[in-house]
């Protein structure tokens, strides 16, 4: 499991598209009450729990296009109850926002399952506030002919 002191974006693959998110600042997640953060062993995907029992899921895709495909699939696969359209709070959303909400914001999927409460949308907004813009990649050194 990754240390929480590491900023997620530093671990992710680079992208040339400046409008994409690098991810969520892992340092900040405990500040909004996310505990037991666990990284998927093969993917840029984290799960965690909030103190009130709500579960959060954060998935960072390499591109917006891949995130769109992932959103389409996860809209079916994250719950076995058919989900209703979600509020227009991001690029895409499903779930009512009370006990469940899945959104796509650029290349990131965020979801909260608040099975015992009604604050899914609130928790998602807090997660969104922690998204970090991907920094521009430094220019590569230029090879110049010598002598």
């Amino acid at each position: 499991m990754m240390t929480r002191c590491v900023v997620l974006w530093a671990l992710l693959s680079a992208s040339a598209q400046a409008q994409e998110w690098s991810g969520v600042s892992l340092e900040s997640l405990p500040e909004i009450g996310v505990e037991h953060l666990t990284k998927h062993i093969d993917r840029d995907l984290w799960r965690g729990a909030l103190a009130d029992g709500a579960l959060v899921r954060i998935e960072v895709l390499p591109s917006v296009e891949e995130a769109k495909r992932a959103f389409s699939f996860q809209s079916r696969a994250l719950t076995s109850r058919v989900v209703e359209p979600g509020p227009k709070v991001a690029d895409q959303a499903v779930g009512g926002g009370e006990d469940y909400l899945l959104i796509r914001d650029k290349n990131v999927l965020l979801s909260v399952n608040d099975a015992k409460g009604r604050n899914a949308a609130v928790h998602v907004e807090r997660l969104r506030s922690l998204l970090v813009i991907r920094a521009a990649a430094p220019e590569a050194p230029v090879l110049a002919p010598s002598g």
Partner: protein
């Protein structure tokens, strides 16, 4: 006086010397209990006899009996490699027989060492009798659990996720830094089975081990050497000791030699009845020599074993350390399914019982959302099993979680199951979801009477189904009360869909092995 003679008759080596005599008439009375007389006499011979020819200074040391001292003092001395280490004068007290012992220490309290010692009884300035005994410090420093590639036993390595450590035959399951406790100066047994499951390769206690249920486990024991005892020697080179254990048979050479190895095989399979579960056994390892009166035990050392009996080697479709039997998982599962017949379907059925009844999970009746699982885009499931074992994400789950738990536990037991998806958006007959008290066809309330998908497990592409998410209504009308509890254990795949799905079309798809972490 007849007591002295009894001693003479049962004792070994003696050096004849002049002295008092007793008539054979008395001897006959002693041995036969009759009054027969012979009219002859036999000499009474002062002698010393050790009670055990091989002894351990930390298990009582040396003991002997001096007899035949009727009218003269006797000097009992014990000589080792460096000269006399002990002496004692015996004065006749009328009985002629006296017992003695020596703890192996010199007069200054230091240990006299190990090896062969000669006990010499001197009477009237002449050596009347000699005997010998060996002092040894026998102990075992490591125990390895092994197999013979399934010929008679197959060991299944356990795995500790949190440590990323997997057992192997190259590491001992128990070990000792020293064969005795230096402070109390007492021999040490192997440590108890560790209460802490996460001992991994660190020997802090004896590790649990797993074998297939019909295995006859192999144990290889490493004998302590001079470096393993504060004596700085073992004395094993001066005697012939072998290892024995009730219920186990030595394979090959049983002799205890410094830093040598002795292998034992369990005489009986772990389960004569052919069941899975847990076998607890305290193996008593005895250090034995052939004395004049037969086999004698110098000392024992115990090895506690907790042996998980599994159906077979793990049946995950993937390889790698995490696709094996997790110690923590078997530790929780096996006591619950103890005695289950070691057959695939029976074990899979027992796993469904365990997940449904014993894990404290309940279905997410709001959303049917997974807590411990994810799918990749091809419905290939991934389970956060380590998080589940600690219930880090609570106890509210969905079918993907339950399916993953069933496949994970079953595959760790050697009962192969795979994840299978049922699609899609179908209405339900009456079901009783895990952790929910009542049957319903609307698990999500009045507006939620169906599944968008459902996850189950199978070993044959959907021909046979196991499912711990729910129980079906097993009567002739699965769509309404009354209900007859029908666990989903090896149910025909077609019957399963007929009982689960209400007037709708649903189909099996996406059979996958799944991944775990």
């Amino acid at each position: 006086m007849w007591l002295w003679l009894l001693g003479c008759q049962t004792m070994g080596t003696l050096v004849p010397s002049s002295g008092p005599s007793v008539s054979d008439e008395t001897q006959s009375q002693t041995t036969n209990g009759s009054a027969t007389t012979t009219g002859t006499t036999a000499p009474i011979v002062p002698m010393v006899q050790v009670l055990a020819e091989v002894v351990d200074p930390l298990r009582g040391g040396m003991s002997w009996t001096v007899s035949g001292l009727t009218d003269a003092e006797g000097l009992l001395s014990i000589d080792g490699a460096d000269g006399t280490v002990y002496s004692q004068t015996y004065t006749p007290d009328g009985t002629g027989t006296v017992d003695g012992s020596w703890d192996g220490r010199l007069a200054d309290g230091e240990w006299a060492g190990l090896g062969l010692f000669t006990l010499r009884l001197t009477v009237n300035g002449q050596v009347a009798s000699e005997a010998s005994a060996s002092m040894v410090r026998a102990g075992l420093t490591a125990a390895y659990a092994e197999d013979d590639d399934g010929l008679t036993s197959r060991r299944v390595d356990l795995y500790w996720w949190e440590d990323g450590a997997r057992q192997s035959e190259g590491y001992p399951i128990s070990g000792l830094e020293q064969i005795e406790d230096a402070e109390t100066q007492t021999p040490l047994p192997f440590a108890p089975v560790s209460d802490e499951l996460r001992v991994a390769q660190n020997i802090q206690g004896t590790q649990r081990i797993a074998y297939t249920f019909d295995s006859r486990p192999l144990l290889t024991l490493e004998v302590g050497g001079p470096e393993d005892t504060f004596f700085g020697a073992t004395g094993l080179d001066a005697t012939t000791l072998r290892l024995e254990a009730d219920g186990w048979t030595v394979q090959g050479d049983a002799l205890l030699t410094e830093n040598g190895l002795v292998t034992l095989m369990r005489d009986a399979p772990l389960s004569l009845e052919g069941t899975v579960g847990v076998t607890e056994e305290l193996v008593t390892l005895s250090f034995v020599y052939d004395g004049k009166k037969g086999p004698e035990v110098v000392g024992t050392q115990t090895l506690p074993l907790t042996m998980y009996r599994v159906l077979g080697a793990p049946t995950f479709g993937h390889s790698g350390e995490r696709y094996t039997a997790w110690a923590e998982a078997l530790n929780e599962l096996l006591p619950f399914i103890e005695g289950t017949v070691a057959e695939h379907d029976a074990v899979a059925n027992a796993v469904v019982d365990y997940v449904y009844y014993e894990t404290g999970l309940e279905y997410d009746t709001r959303r049917g959302a997974s807590a411990y699982s994810d799918y990749d885009w091809g419905w290939d499931p991934h389970v956060y099993f380590s998080d589940f074992l600690q219930r880090r994400f609570g106890t509210t789950i969905n079918c993907t979680d339950a399916g993953n738990l069933v496949t994970t536990y079953a595959n760790m037991m050697g009962a192969e199951l795979r994840h299978l998806i049922i699609l899609e958006n179908f209405a339900l007959d009456e079901i009783k979801a895990i952790g929910i008290d009542d049957y319903t066809s609307c698990p999500f309330g009045p507006g939620g009477c169906g599944f968008s998908y459902h996850a189950v497990t199978t070993d044959d592409g959907g021909g046979t189904i196991w499912d711990a998410t729910l129980v079906l209504d097993g009567d002739d009308d699965p769509g309404s009360a009354p209900h007859e509890v029908m666990m989903v254990q090896a149910i025909d795949g077609e019957e399963y869909l007929n009982r689960l799905v209400r007037d709708d079309f649903a189909y099996y798809d996406y059979e996958n092995e799944g991944t775990i972490q």
